[in-house]
Amino acid sequence: MSGHSTYEPKNPVAKWFDKQLPILSMSHDFLVFPTPKNLNYLWTFGGILSMCLVIQILTGIVLAMHYTPHVDMAFNSVEHIMRDVNYGWLIRYIHQNGASMFFIAVYIHILRGMYYGSYKSPREILWILGVIILLLMMATAFMGYVLPWGQMSFWGAKVITNLFSAIPFVGDWVVTLLWGGFTVDNPTLNRFFSLHYLMPFMIAGVVALHIWALHIPGSNNPTGVSVKSGQDTVPFHPYITMKDLFAAIVFLILFAFFVFYKPNYLGHSINFEVADALKTPEHIVPEWYFLPFYAILRAIPDKLGGVLAMGGAIVVLFFLPWLDTSRVRSAKFRPIFRQFFWLFVINVFILGVVGANPAEGWWIIVGQFSTAYYFLHFLVIIPLVGMIENPKPLPASISESVLASQPKGEPAAQPAE
């Protein structure tokens, strides 16, 4: 996308069209875009995420045709979708489980970036755009979860909107503004529906910027070594398109497993009960993808402190490019960082388990310890390890690393037997 395209359509009509709207040469540049030839399957999640967004938008538009955003009718209209609307059950189960699949993909995508140092120069803006997408996704999923107006919908909405009341001075004003009333009620449901419809399109816009920012430096790769020559790359089509497609199909198999065999496994049975503003369910928990952040919120025994810690857990990601002091991108060549990376992953899982359990007894201690470690990882371990670690020698180029990984003495390609 940078620079001027060298592509010229042969067909005279296409030529005339492309001169006025260069959409053909842009698509062509997209397809021949040089991509590192050593990308592994972790690089297919960008494509998978784009697919997830399209699936959510298509199923969402269909749901909106049958859904009613009113406190007296919302719950029943979702049941109506499930029982009466032709294939309504399928569309809704795809949308509901699609949100979970979306988050599985985005978390893998982010961890991929953290492992291979994809956030490091010259890709800081790309990374920041990614964190913005994550925030928008969280807001979208949160508001979507409110729409079926079950008990968990209502109380999730109440607790999360109340987080804003911790803001000094203006907190209560902000919360009233969000609610449009004295509590979560019909005005809240109405505006959440409007915003839940809007935000996926905002995500699509930021995704476009994200991909634009990707196409300036090009993809990072498992060695973290920059592309040096044409030897290091393959054209996006057919090499990456086919690989992405294959990965997407495997991902869809997992997706279909949930939709057809375990459609409610990732949800909460409490949401089959209609919202009751006078009765909080005994144990309220957010959807699985928010659990680590929920654990951080509860780890701090202070309202404002808890809210700041939870927000900080995401905000710290924005600063990651500048917190990392290492000259080397990929964890493949960083023996110490690599171990801390896996500790970080384990710690996030522990936070998730803590978030799913009631805040009592040992869970409180474990939650506080894990929260401290989460921030320690970003604020102390990452800067320090980058300074003291002795990275392993880097390959001279991507090509060299690819050749070196081939078994010795064997030709690079063998005829089929």
């Binding site: 503004l177 009333g181 309220i284």
Partner: protein
């Protein structure tokens, strides 16, 4: 620089600042309706008051009614509960403000200041945890009052926060006795 020049540039600065300020105020005025439309509308604010007869509520019994979409707890307290609430030194309270809409702000959170004088058997308060808004469970927790299961806040028999992440006592709404046993909330 000649005097004329500096005069000119001062004039230009003034024009820049003036134009900028005008544009900023204009933009703010145009944006405000889009923000304010989200605030509670006239129909929401019109849901003003509810009345409740306290006579059928036995000692040791609580009821929950809905006022402006929020639960309001009305509890007919036992003598032991009132005594327990009175026995706490105010310095031991995390929130020492009575949070009673019928009394001025900053009134100390003694038990009498949480009820209407002479009617201290009846505790009336908005049953919303001041942490993140869950509805606490009655006759529970370490202080025999209310316990919020969401993140573990304990309230005493006067509805005051004693332990846990909630920062404030549960608020007492504006209410008054219309007759000896009839209250009007709001």
């Amino acid at each position: 620089m000649s005097t004329l020049d500096s005069h000119d540039s001062e004039r230009r600065d003034f024009l820049y600042i003036g134009t900028g300020a005008f544009a900023a105020v204009g933009t703010a005025m145009a944006v405000w309706p889009f923000i304010h439309q989200m605030n509670p509308d006239a129909s929401v604010k019109a849901l003003a008051s509810v009345e409740l007869d306290l006579a059928p509520i036995e000692e040791g019994q609580s009821i929950t009614i809905s006022w402006r979409g929020n639960p309001v707890f009305v509890r007919h307290r036992t003598a032991a509960e009132i005594e327990e609430a009175n026995s706490v030194p105010i310095e031991d309270l995390p929130d020492q403000d009575a949070r009673n809409a019928n009394l001025p702000e900053g009134t100390p959170a003694t038990d009498v200041n949480r009820v209407i004088d002479g009617k201290d058997k009846f505790l009336v308060m908005i049953g919303v945890c001041t942490h993140l808004g869950c509805v606490p469970v009655g006759e529970a927790g370490e202080f025999d009052g209310w316990f919020c299961p969401c993140h573990g806040s304990h309230y005493d028999t006067s509805g005051r926060i004693r332990k846990g992440p909630a920062p404030e006592n549960m608020p007492v709404p504006q209410y008054s006795y219309v007759s000896d046993t009839l209250i009007k909330i709001g």
